[in-house]
Symmetry: C2
Subunit: 683 residues, 2 copies
């Protein structure tokens, strides 16, 4: 019987033939596609990181803006160190386990779990920060959305959630087009700006005529200590630009061969582009006189000595630059703002894709429910997606979609995993040195270890700075959340280990049951019952009987009559249940049989209807379900479902079929496109 419905046929015509398994190799990513697939998260941070640098410097007043490009260069230096480090990682760990694997293998399970908790928190924050920033850009383009950013952001998260629950087929093109457009937009805009700058005709930003009152206690002249603190805060906020650079190390298996080398090259490219953007934006903003303060402190902004009016809206730095550079060409402004918004949404989507991937890796190690490890468990995927969206929405609502506040929570987690990963890499190389004898290889290992050591020293400093400057501002929330995830993973691991110990096979498990007593549950004498009887008979048990729970005398008499007529050759046991209980008499009867023969086994055969529609399922098998659940607790009893497929079951089978071919989030970055081949299920 063909299972292809009309809908499926028409869909196939529209979408083209599905990819066969054999074709999967062809979908590995070339560098030009891998770059946009993995870069959206890292590149998108240029949409908010410069703003945060300016906000922090503004604490000391506009005069501190002279430090802006120096802070930018410090951030870029750290970025260079981190990227050099990760280039070592992709060579050493091409399996795509990323930071988690590096930490676990080299530093042990606790370090691995710490990195995993940091990553889980980071996924939530990636969604919250990117979408909040995206809502801010949306409000720049559509002033009607101003002061409704939290609502806009919440709706966007819900949309992303819905798309991911539905299963969006991530294609390279989906990422390539907007990511390249974003590069063109930002780099193009900066090029325009620098040309103007060289020509001396650089226009001023809209906020250039504002003055900024330093925050109380930060008035000039700053003490050296004060200046250090100010710069440290600006620097640690700027380090938000580093979020997402580790993505490629998780995606090595999706690259075309030579995988590691291509991944390393892509990583280098990503670093160059990100650094260029970051520095260009900061320098231009400084030159154009951009003024940027914490949106809660607009009272510090004055124009000609008069505070800005209530309801003042502060456009993001990139929006201000675009507005000024393209002043007499508004499509340019809208283009920059739109692609920036799109890239931020793509960055958030990254988290939706990365979350289940991490879940399945953790599941494999017994740190997350095992169901997350199996592909195709839609329920597990869906729960993860809903959880991620819900947490992100909570953050967005609590922090009113203000990127500045959310950023305080963001960077701790990222740098925790950077640090543990670098430390792990150093351990990795040191260990490699103990066995490696080839002098040339040893030299390369020494070099790699040096790179990772430099990386570690940079990231360690940043982590200390970040924790010191941001702990009270929100980083403590991240640390608490990490501790929570850590405890949950530890609990799950402990549970699985206990179960494993309890279940370990020993020598006592070799005895065979001596006897099989089969009982077939009978509710009516119809096809499902007859099939169950036939199947039970086919297993040739030592004893076989039908069991009927009698709740009504008339029905019972009718059944007994039919039973005799049919002449099934099987005796029928009637259990009386005056109070209409069905489950309990059967459980008790099965237990009684088992007690009479403790070395035997009782096989309970349950005829089951298989129907297709959800409401049909409500109308059938509820008692069978309860019975099965209850019988599982009776030792020495095994429960056999003998299905009888009703015609409507085909609906469910077709639905199941479609489900199997559906894309799961994260497929692309794991180098998968199809979920298998497109043969029809054999019946």
């Amino acid at each position: 019987m063909s299972l292809v419905g009309v809908g499926d046929v028409s869909k196939r015509i529209l979408l083209g033939r599905k990819l066969r398994s054999a074709q999967l190799g062809e979908t590995l990513l070339p560098k030009r596609i891998a770059l946009p697939v993995f870069a959206s998260d890292a590149l998108s941070s240029v949409a908010y990181a410069p703003d945060e640098v300016f906000i922090m410097l503004a604490i000391g007043g506009v005069s501190q803006y002279v430090w802006s490009w120096k802070v930018g260069i410090a951030v870029v230096l750290v970025m260079a160190a981190v990227i050099a480090s990760y280039r070592q990682t992709v060579h050493a760990y091409p399996s795509g386990g990323g930071d988690y694997e590096v930490a676990k293998v080299n530093l042990g399970r606790t370090a691995g779990m710490t990195v995993a908790s940091a990553l889980l928190v980071d996924y939530v924050l990636t969604v919250a920060v990117s979408i909040s920033s995206g809502a801010n850009y949306a409000a720049s383009a559509l002033p009607a959305l101003q002061h409704h950013e939290a609502t806009v952001a919440t709706v966007m998260v819900l949309l992303l959630m819905a798309l991911n629950l539905r299963g969006i087929r991530e294609s390279g093109r989906l990422f390539a087009v907007p990511t390249y457009l974003f590069m063109v937009a930002i780099l193009g805009m900066c090029a325009f700006g620098f040309v103007d700058l060289a020509a001396g005709s650089l226009p001023m930003a809209e906020s250039a005529d504002l003055e900024i009152t330093p925050k109380e206690g930060w008035d000039e002249p700053l003490t050296t200590f004060g200046l250090v603190i100010l710069l440290a805060r600006a620097f640690s906020s700027g380090c938000a630009a580093l979020t997402g650079v580790e993505a490629i190390s998780n995606g090595v298996p999706a690259f075309q061969r030579p995988k590691s080398r291509n991944a390393a090259t892509t990583l280098l490219l990503l670093g160059l582009i990100a650094a260029t953007m970051m520095i260009s934006v900061i320098v231009l903003a400084k030159q154009m006189g951009v003024r940027f303060v914490d949106p809660h402190e607009f009272e510090r902004l004055t124009r000609d000595g008069v505070p800005v009016p209530d309801g003042h809206h502060q456009h993001a730095v990139i929006a201000q630059i675009a507005h000024a550079v393209f002043h007499d060409f508004s499509p340019g402004f809208y283009f920059v703002v739109t692609v920036t918004g799109v890239i931020l949404v793509l960055a958030a989507n990254t988290a939706f894709n990365g979350f289940p991937v991490l879940g399945s890796i953790l599941a494999k190690d017994g740190l997350a429910p095992r169901a997350l490890g199996a592909r195709g468990d839609r329920l597990a995927y869906s729960n993860g997606i809903v959880f991620l969206a819900a947490m992100a929405i909570v953050l967005i609502v609590v922090f009113d979609a203000e990127t500045t506040k959310l950023i305080q929570l963001y960077i701790v987690g990222v740098f925790v995993s950077f640090n543990l990963s670098q430390l792990g890499m150093i351990r990795h190389w040191t260990r490699a040195l103990t066995t490696e004898r080839d002098a040339a290889v040893r030299r390369r290992i020494y070099r790699s270890r040096a790179i990772n050591a430099v990386g570690l020293s940079f990231t360690a400093v940043v982590l200390v700075v970040v924790v010191l400057t941001k702990f009270l501002a929100g980083a403590w929330i991240t640390i608490v959340a990490m501790a929570f995830f850590f405890a949950v993973m530890k609990g799950i691991k402990g549970h699985y280990e206990n179960v494993e110990r309890e279940l370990a096979a020993d020598e006592t498990d070799k005895t065979l049951p001596t006897r099989v007593h089969a009982i077939v549950l009978v509710s009516k004498l119809h096809k499902p019952t007859l099939r169950a009887l036939a199947f039970a008979k086919a297993t040739r048990p030592n004893a076989l009987e039908g069991v009927y729970v009698s709740v009504d005398q008339k029905d019972t008499a009718r059944l007994l009559e039919e039973w005799d007529e049919r002449n099934t050759g099987v005796p029928l046991k009637v259990l009386h249940s005056p109070y209409r209980e069905v489950v309990k008499p059967i459980v008790e009867y099965a237990s009684a049989i088992r007690r009479a023969n403790p070395r035997g086994v009782v096989a309970v055969y349950i005829p089951e209807y298989v129907v297709g529609r959800w409401w049909e399922q409500l109308l059938h098998n509820q008692t069978a379900l309860r019975l099965k659940g209850r019988l599982l607790f009776s030792p020495g009893v095994m429960v056999t479902s003998v299905p009888y497929q009703l015609r409507s079951s085909e609906i469910a089978l077709e639905r199941e079929e479609r489900e199997e071919h559906r894309v799961r989030p994260g497929d692309l970055r794991r180098g998968r496109v199809g979920s298998g081949d497109d043969r029809q299920l054999p019946r």
Copy 2:
């Protein structure tokens, strides 16, 4: 192993030994207990029915209040006819099927379904009306609650829902005490009033000095037609007093022997008490000058020509009488108002008890999901209770807990079932006459039929009056809801019939499968797997093999090694699944075996862990669950769960135990107390 935990022991000491099945007979209800158990719904309507009569008469101004006691007498006449009719029903149908059974047996399934829909709607309205009225009384006693009646009512419904979900042990005493107190309170209050009246010292009600402007278009003098309409509306609202009198006809099995006779006597008593209360309250209210208008039309109330101020609160008629009669004894007032409130809550609880009873009767006839028919299906019970509460809350919120508005929806359903039930009874007696030859019996039958005919003529008139006067005021909502329930029941019946046709056994179902090919799923080589292998071996299949889905080469190699070491004597088939899919390869393998041998059957043995805590269940068996669900769709495959009970499974078993002993709503009125005996489950 004993399953009695400390908690259970202490509970047993506190609550006394649970009743054994054998003792159940002793819990049948004597008349003095049956009366309060079944009367709360019918008696409680005296708390709002008189108010509605006065509201309707007030449309024509205070002068129309002269009709009040005449309307009351008309209502009492209808009540007498209905009660006489139901006394016939309890003799003819002692099984407790009530109106539904009478209509179904005598008038066919369509009539039965109509009555069932009416009853379903009525249960919802009983909750909504009783609780709304109760909230009004609560506001009379606690003025702080005034103008928050809808909130109070919603909270009360939620509380009732929670209690019923939890399972409250209904005892006769629970009903007896408040119901008898209510009778004492109302009849005592009326007695006081009549003594005062006789002595000429009857105090005036608080509203006696108000004047009522007739509604526009109803100014005096009324035309005869206008008067008829006015009286018809007052009468049909007064008929709210009849709701609930049918309860006893559903509860005959719970009475002590002779059941029917005791039920009939109790019904007569109920009628006498209800009629006395109704008439007494109306007469007293009239004599005390109570003024009562629709709470939306307070602008029609004036005192000395000046409209009452905003925020005026109108106390219920009984509250006004109590306030005046006990003017120098406020405990008397609070006593009357409190017991009235309590009886209204009990009346609402009646619906929570009746709903599942009706559900199980409908399930037996294939009009509701079959699961509702089995006792102990907690899920089904819970869904019913939540549904009932949710619908009632919707009505309460939409109609702002105003009894006057809700009453417009209430009476249609009640009288639809009265009418169909009377018609059914007439048909019943007529049929009885065709076979009965004994002249004395025939005379009795003639008399009974005459009573039912009179009952029908009364209720038919009322139904017509109610539909005419209330259709636009809200009765249409009831009719739409009834049509909806009717359609759902029809759909369910049709579905079950289709399935039955599809499943009917015929001669082709006698062939036995020729061969059993057993496969045991292996994920690890631990106790559950070994047990499943042992059980599968014990069934001596024609072929037996272990099946392992390989997703990781290292794990596979380790398992193969262990398998060889163990020397299980069973071959192990390894299915490769590079994309970590587990379910699909197994389903395909099972189908392939079946295709190779279409007359054989494939037995799939799944080792299952049995754990006790909900979160443990999340951590285990998810894949087994999906696999079982999927294999049900493969013809010729049977699925056997081989459970392995982990230590924590005892937690679940104990929970299950407690669950079984829990009371279900409606037990009392079905003559049940315990859910079976109190032996421990055998293990």
